[in-house]
């Protein structure tokens, strides 16, 4: 029994319309493959040919105009064993050009049959992307002026594996369709047709006229392109499932209440990483942490600001307006603070000494960022400064922070980060040697 259940004259199409004949050819081509009907899915676009689902006894999917290619790709990706065929018109190839091109590039093995009759039949004979120059349609009463869209060349240069163009009355039409369906990668057949309701009466197009049109437009019938199928074209290039870092042995850090930190600098200073390292250590120690970042979409240039909240209890409100500790490492960061409404009054400010008018703070420590960079490495100086600030604020002792870092840090940057933390500890100690800090409740 054929996959096509209805004869062309019993279909809904206008007498003389090519769609019925084209569908009979397609039905025969599918039958020749011998694929069970439950392994075939037709995905129909919008337009007269979009009504064809009902004439086939197989899976059918009828979606939105121009998007049939996307549904087909989703079906094929999820069920590579299915024969997935798109029935689309020339209009659909226009509105869905992006899908046509990029599906061809990806090469997922869907089969596209274009029912190309040079105009929009369903909506009243308007011009379509394939309407030849000078052709008259209801929207080109003086003759079309746009260059016609070469569907075959477009998908061929985009990587389509099998591309052919043929007239619906060509004796080898079924063979062309069959070859396209047998091709294992992305394939397309551009099937030229007659729309007897609009295009034919307006433009006196005839059966032999299709061949003449093909010659005039330099779009020859026949095989346009055939490439060997690309292996694994449908594969995503993702890596194997990432493993979560194993739970580090928890140490506990004594902590009182909610403390807010702002680290402000420039892209490239690894501001967010610095805040993240302290955050990860705090989480590993059983504290509650929020890290909220601000940066422009050009992530390698401009400001980079990270707000960190470390709390002994759950954190609900995630905003930071007046941090208890601010580490300010570049003019970019400084300039951005007023926009974010971040104030520093009452806080400890650790600031690069090269910066000019810095915000008022209860206590300001000026550091030579270039020297710290030399010791810790440029990439992790922000972390060193942050560690310096955290100890100087009296929240945690140098010993504790080194211990927590040893236990909590994992991953490829572990050694680099540990070194920076040691540098931060050393700098804080040299600070207190120079000018002993007011005794804080050191933990």
């Amino acid at each position: 029994m054929s996959v096509l259940t209805t004869l062309k004259d019993e279909m809904c199409y206008c007498p003389g319309c090519s769609h019925g004949l084209a569908l009979e050819h397609l039905g025969e081509a599918i039958d020749r493959l011998g694929v069970p009907r439950e392994k075939v899915c037709l995905v129909s676009d919008i337009g007269c040919v979009g009504t064809a689902d009902r004439y086939f006894n197989c899976h059918t999917f009828h979606g939105l105009h121009g998007r049939s290619i996307t549904y087909a790709e989703g079906i094929k990706r999820a069920r590579p064993d299915l024969l997935v065929i798109v029935l689309i018109g020339d209009g659909g190839c226009g509105i869905g050009t992006a899908h046509l091109v990029h599906a061809a590039r990806r090469g997922v093995g869907i089969k596209i049959v274009v029912f190309n009759n040079f105009n929009f039949g369903m909506t009243g004979g308007q011009h379509s992307p394939t309407t030849p120059e000078r052709a008259r349609t209801t929207t080109t009463p003086g003759g079309a002026v746009e260059h016609p869209f070469d569907i075959c060349e477009t998908v061929a240069v985009s990587g389509a594996g099998y591309v052919a163009r043929c007239g619906v009355f060509d004796p080898n039409c079924v063979e062309r369709l069959e070859a396209a369906l047998r091709y294992s990668g992305f394939s397309l057949v551009d099937l030229w047709e007659l729309c007897v309701a609009y295009y034919v009466p307006e433009n006196k197009l005839t059966r032999p006229g299709l061949k003449e049109l093909s010659a005039r437009l330099h779009m020859p019938f026949g095989l346009v392109r055939e490439r060997p199928p690309r292996p694994g074209a449908a594969s995503a290039d993702g890596e194997a499932e990432r493993k979560r870092p194993s739970s580090p042995e928890a140490i506990s850090l004594p902590w009182c209440g909610r403390r807010e930190v702002c680290v402000a600098g420039s892209a490239g200073q690894r501001i967010r990483s610095a805040a993240g390292v302290i955050g990860e250590m705090a989480v590993a120690a059983g504290l509650h942490v929020v890290q909220q970042d601000d940066f422009p979409i050009t992530v390698r240039k401009g400001h980079s600001i990270s707000n960190l909240i470390v709390s002994s209890g759950p954190v609900h409100y995630t905003g930071v307006e007046s941090p208890h500790l601010m580490v300010l490492l570049s003019q970019d960061g400084l300039s951005r603070l007023p926009i974010l409404g971040v104030q520093t009054e009452g806080s400890l400010l650790v600031v690069d000494e090269s910066l000019g008018s810095v915000p008022p703070a209860a206590r300001t420590i000026r550091v030579d960022l270039r020297r710290i960079e030399k010791e810790s490495g440029k990439q992790t100086a922000a972390l060193a400064c942050l560690v310096m600030g955290v100890i100087e604020a009296g929240w945690i002792s140098a010993e504790r922070i080194l211990q927590a870092a040893q236990q909590a840090l994992v991953g490829r940057y572990r050694e680099e980060n540990l070194r920076a933390i040691r540098v931060g500890v050393d700098w804080q100690q040299s600070l207190s040697e120079r000018s002993p800090a007011t005794p804080a409740a050191s933990m």
Partner: protein
């Protein structure tokens, strides 16, 4: 085990826990990390995660895959949700189980790509032509992003509907402490497939409220899917009775199950005269404000909404205890949900607190609205004292 993860990572974890096995998306800030993490997470399943040429292709791929039986997810931001619009209608009409994450950002159009805002809360409700209902959930932090994504898959499967999960930039990209493994989640029920006999009438329902069995494309018997108005056989119909039945069913299956779609957190005080209703990013500030107000002796109730549509009317009515006279609604938009609440709440004043510049609403702003300026001043003092004790 406590972890330190972003809201977007929590979405990915929730999806994977729910058995998500298909993802398609297009890069957009602040949703892009869901795309990259899903490609990594589904890396062992070739072809099942893809970055497409645009948002239309992304949701199209998901719909195709979902109809073969995949548990599909896509994620975008407001501009991308606009491009999803027509296909969300297709997913409604075709009754496609599908989870859509919208990581909201500031303003209309390109807006503020890296700034926060929660202006899609009503857009998400009426996101497509025809305005048929679909469930919309709203995360308040990374942890709720996790379990709501999981719940979204349950709802999508159970009601055969697209479900939208809202986050916003400062939830999506903010790292927070989470203990996801400790969250108790209900078990997933497999799709009822109705067997082979369902294939001839894939949209058959016993009543307007019931949900058709899922007969997958590629199953043992051919089945029809369509976004055009159709009868129970999945073929176009012009029969007005069949049309009315189909469209009424799309409304009824959501309305009749509204109670199942109610996700809230109650923190009520029977003697309170003010109720704070919050969702999304403003919820954290509301929780802190309510805690501080109570510390200073105020009586106040708080209702957190994790589901926005259908509006959780039962929970809201329950929170409107006898003495409630005012309802304070903080939101990071122009006051969208407060407007909707005014339709429901007749015996109390709705006070809308809004912020639209990319900043957060501070707990003090909410506290001030709840009590009065004097009490708020006290809170400022307390805050200052807290600061000095800490430093």
């Amino acid at each position: 085990m406590r972890e330190f993860i972003t809201g977007n990572q929590a979405v990915v974890r929730g999806a994977m826990r729910a058995g998500c096995d298909f993802f398609a998306g297009y890069p957009i800030t602040p949703a892009s990390s869901i795309l990259s993490e899903m490609i990594a997470s589904l890396g062992s399943r070739p072809g099942r995660a893809v970055q497409t040429e645009d948002e239309i292709a992304a949701i199209g791929c998901c719909i195709g895959a979902a109809m073969t039986g995949a548990r599909a997810l896509t994620a975008t931001s407001g501009p991308g949700l606009s491009l999803y619009s027509e296909n969300i209608g297709l997913a409604q009409m075709g009754e496609v189980p599908l989870v859509i994450v919208d990581c909201q950002r500031m303003g209309p159009a390109t807006g503020g790509a890296t700034s926060t805002g929660e202006g899609d809360v009503v857009f998400a409700r009426h996101v497509t032509s025809g305005s048929y209902p679909l469930p919309v959930l709203s995360a308040a932090d990374a942890e709720s992003a996790y379990w709501l994504t999981y719940e979204a898959f349950r709802i999508a499967e159970r009601l055969r509907t697209p479900v939208i999960v809202l986050l916003s930039k400062d939830i999506s990209l903010t790292r927070q402490t989470c203990d996801l493994d400790a969250i108790d989640l209900p078990t997933l029920t497999p799709r009822s497939t109705g067997g082979q006999s369902g294939s001839t009438r894939p949209y058959r329902v016993d009543s307007l409220k019931s949900v058709p069995d899922f007969v997958p494309i590629g199953g043992s018997a051919p089945v029809r899917f369509t976004g055009s108005i159709h009868g129970e056989d999945g073929l176009l119909t012009a029969n007005r009775g069949a049309i009315d039945r189909k469209l009424s069913h799309l409304k009824e299956k959501i309305a009749a199950n509204a109670d199942l779609l109610e996700y809230v957190r109650n923190d009520l005080d029977a003697d309170a005269e003010t109720l704070v209703v919050s969702y999304g990013l403003a919820d954290g500030a509301a929780r802190d404000a309510v805690a501080e107000l109570r510390d200073s002796g105020s009586r106040v109730s708080h209702l957190t909404l994790y589901s926005l549509w259908p509006m959780p009317e039962r929970a809201i009515q329950k929170a409107l205890t006898a003495r409630i006279r005012r309802v304070v609604v903080p939101e990071l938009n122009i006051g969208l949900y407060a407007d909707e609440l005014r339709r429901l709440v007749k015996d109390a004043d709705i006070e809308s607190l809004t912020r639209i510049d990319g900043g957060l609403i501070h707990p003090r702003t909410i506290a001030a609205a709840v009590c009065n300026a004097e009490a708020a001043a006290k809170l400022v003092e307390r805050d200052e004292r807290g600061r000095s004790c800490q430093s």
